[in-house]
């Protein structure tokens, strides 16, 4: 059997297992094992599996993953989300679209302390949805902007999905985090810009403005956001200046989150253990998927499929833009069935060699992938943010999906922009990494 036929067969096995509801991590192990059957010289694939995964799991860099997850888990259990709406609303009242912008900014801020999109979406929507409804804002734009802005959770660092990609693609976590900042601001700008344009075109759908507040009053309303702001600056600065490694930075983030929780008096024994066990469940779930993926990649490397596929695709002589367009379509299709993490670990092993061959930077490609995962989260049938909003608003899935559609297209525009101007992604990490000699172990 030639390699292309083998890859077809493996793909079929994978699709059957996934569609049959076999856990993703187990499906990856299974495909890795089947792949090994085609390789003659490996006499004990199971031993390769255990050795490889032990080597990958006992990793000091990976220890950043549970710590960043923990940081988010602690902050969800504080009153931060309640403070967010009150603290941001007075400052955004003057923009056309008024409090609708709170959705975008609150999600952006929450995204800088949380690494998960669905959680960002749910946390912000819980407060914003009833408040906006009470004031008479348009349902459709409110739902759409919440769905879209919620996805900022994985684009603005820290991001669980980015850690997973960094491990799968063997790129620096810090570089990837830094690369996410400007695209994150870009997406926020696109969202807010759309809300402004919409508000100017539909003046009749605008509720009356909020009563005016004095500056002192505004500041008082926002005072509770200051600790969170400090935490974000602390985490960002230590990444940018290279004060700490990603793992240490995550540990400081956890400490800061504890301080915020203690400040708002929401730290107690029950909350503490809930946050610990919640972190464990997410970490274990992701680690088993990573374990399955690393076995599958090893097995693929033995078969030589990734190189063969890269050469095969290279044979089409696609221009780099055509390749990115084709990959965008492929990931949009995958996004209808898979969650972001699975999408990344399933595809990196075969896609990365192609992308590298076409001359793209792997850090850039990571941000590209994150944007595609965001698109998947706001598109039916399994978009997690849609599901969250559907349950919270009591609307049916089609209404929510239609409301999110403009924001889906804005993400497509963001993908096009970073493809044409890769500097948007690479400027910050290049700048931060060019100026210092990176100390050992801080890759």
């Amino acid at each position: 059997m030639d390699l292309i036929a083998i890859s077809g067969l493996l793909l079929l096995v994978l699709v059957l297992l996934l569609a049959g509801g076999v856990w993703i991590a187990i499906s990856l192990l299974a495909v890795g094992w089947v792949g090994m059957l085609f390789v003659g010289e490996v006499n004990n694939p199971g031993y390769v599996l255990a050795t490889k995964i032990w080597g990958n799991a006992a990793s000091w860099e990976l220890a950043a993953l549970p710590l960043f997850i923990w940081m988010g888990e602690i902050l969800f259990r504080t009153k931060l989300s309640d403070d967010m709406f009150r603290g941001l609303a007075p400052w955004l009242n003057w923009l056309p679209g008024r409090l609708m912008h709170v959705n975008v900014f609150a999600s952006g801020i929450f995204g800088s302390v949380s690494g998960s999109s669905a959680a960002t979406c749910a946390t912000i929507a819980k407060i914003a949805l009833p408040e906006l409804k009470r004031r008479g804002y348009d349902d459709k734009i409110a739902l759409g902007s919440l769905a879209g802005a919620g996805t900022l959770g994985i684009l603005i660092p820290p991001s669980i999905t980015m850690v997973v990609y960094a491990v799968a693609a063997e790129v620096s976590i810090i570089k990837l985090f830094l690369a996410g900042f400007i695209p994150g601001l870009l997406v926020m700008g696109l969202y807010s810009g759309y809300i402004i344009v919409w508000a100017l075109l539909n003046p009749r759908k605008q509720p009356p403005p909020e009563p005016r507040m004095t500056l002192a009053h505004k500041l008082r309303e926002s005072a509770n956001l200051i600790p969170c702001g400090l935490l974000i600056i602390l985490v960002f600065a230590s990444l940018l200046m290279g004060w700490a490694t990603a793992t240490e930075c995550a540990a400081w983030g956890v400490l800061g989150s504890f301080a915020i929780a203690a400040w708002s008096r929401s730290l107690n024994r029950a909350n503490f253990w809930m946050s610990v066990m919640g972190t464990i469940r997410i970490t274990s779930m992701i680690m088993l998927i990573l374990a399955g993926a690393s076995f599958m990649s090893t097995s693929m490397a033995y078969t030589g499929i990734p190189v063969a596929l890269a050469n095969w695709v290279d044979g089409f002589k696609l221009s780099p833009y055509m390749l990115i367009a084709a990959l965008t379509l492929m990931y949009m299709a995958l996004g209808t069935a898979l969650d972001g993490i699975s999408m990344i670990v399933l595809t990196t092993v075969v896609v990365l060699p192609m992308v590298q061959k076409a001359g793209f930077d792997l850090v850039w490609f990571g941000i590209f992938l994150i944007l595609l995962v965001e698109m998947a989260e706001v598109s039916p049938p399994v978009g997690f943010n849609l599901f969250v909003l559907q349950t919270m608003s009591g609307k049916d899935s089609m209404t929510v999906a239609r409301a999110a559609l403009p924001f889906f297209w804005l993400l497509v525009i963001a993908v096009a922009l970073i493809t044409v101007f890769p500097k948007i992604v690479m400027w910050l990490p290049d700048k931060a990494f060019a100026e210092k000699v990176v100390p050992k172990g801080r890759s």
Binding site: I26, A251, V276, R281, T283, T391
Partner: protein, 180 residues
């Protein structure tokens, strides 16, 4: 028996939680201690072993709580009978591969013990010791798979299956637990 098994999964989960706290403590100590010239010998190594133990000891608890990701698009829409058969097939496959993985992890740990492999870093710890958490976590996950397979074969509802969320609080809890 039921209580014994559930206790095993839960306590392995708590142990994983302990390792999480240990990672945090080590990283804080290393980061802050550097300013004062304090250092933990092989702190990086210890943190990475804690990481492996943390991730793998939590597996059974994660699986039982229904947090292991699968594609529910098809299986959630199937009628009861067909679904139960598919559920059993998934569990049997899972048991096969996790069992295979566990058996080899046990062999790896035993080999480290037999050949007295030492860690490469500053601290020459016998490697079988940190590997214990990894191997034990996998072994407990294998037990959890046997447990669930028996439950499904007896025609009962698997423990990991959850009702769809109803209140906003439940949605948030699920959204956080999803990690995506």
């Amino acid at each position: 028996m039921r209580r014994l098994l559930d206790g095993l999964y839960l306590w392995a989960g708590y142990a994983a939680g302990g390792f999480l706290i240990a990672i945090f403590a080590i990283m804080m100590f290393m980061s802050a201690g550097r300013q004062f010239g304090l250092n933990i010998p092989a702190g990086d190594d210890i943190a990475s072993w804690c990481m492996a133990a943390c991730a793998f000891l939590g597996l059974a608890h994660t699986f039982k709580s229904g947090e292991m990701i699968r594609v529910g698009l098809l299986i959630d829409r199937l009628p009861g009978g067909v679904r139960r058969v598919l559920e059993a097939v998934s569990l049997a496959l899972g048991l096969g591969f996790i069992g295979y993985f566990t058996a080899n992890a046990v062999r790896l740990t035993y080999d480290s013990y037999r050949f007295n492999d030492l860690a490469q870093g500053v601290l020459p710890v016998p490697l079988w010791f940190p590997q214990l958490g990894f191997t034990a976590g996998l072994a407990i996950l294998t037990i959890a798979f046997v447990d669930e397979l028996i439950i499904v074969l007896r025609g009962r509802r698997p423990t990991y299956e959850k009702d769809p969320p109803r209140t906003a609080e439940e949605v948030i809890e699920r959204a956080i637990a999803g990690g995506v």
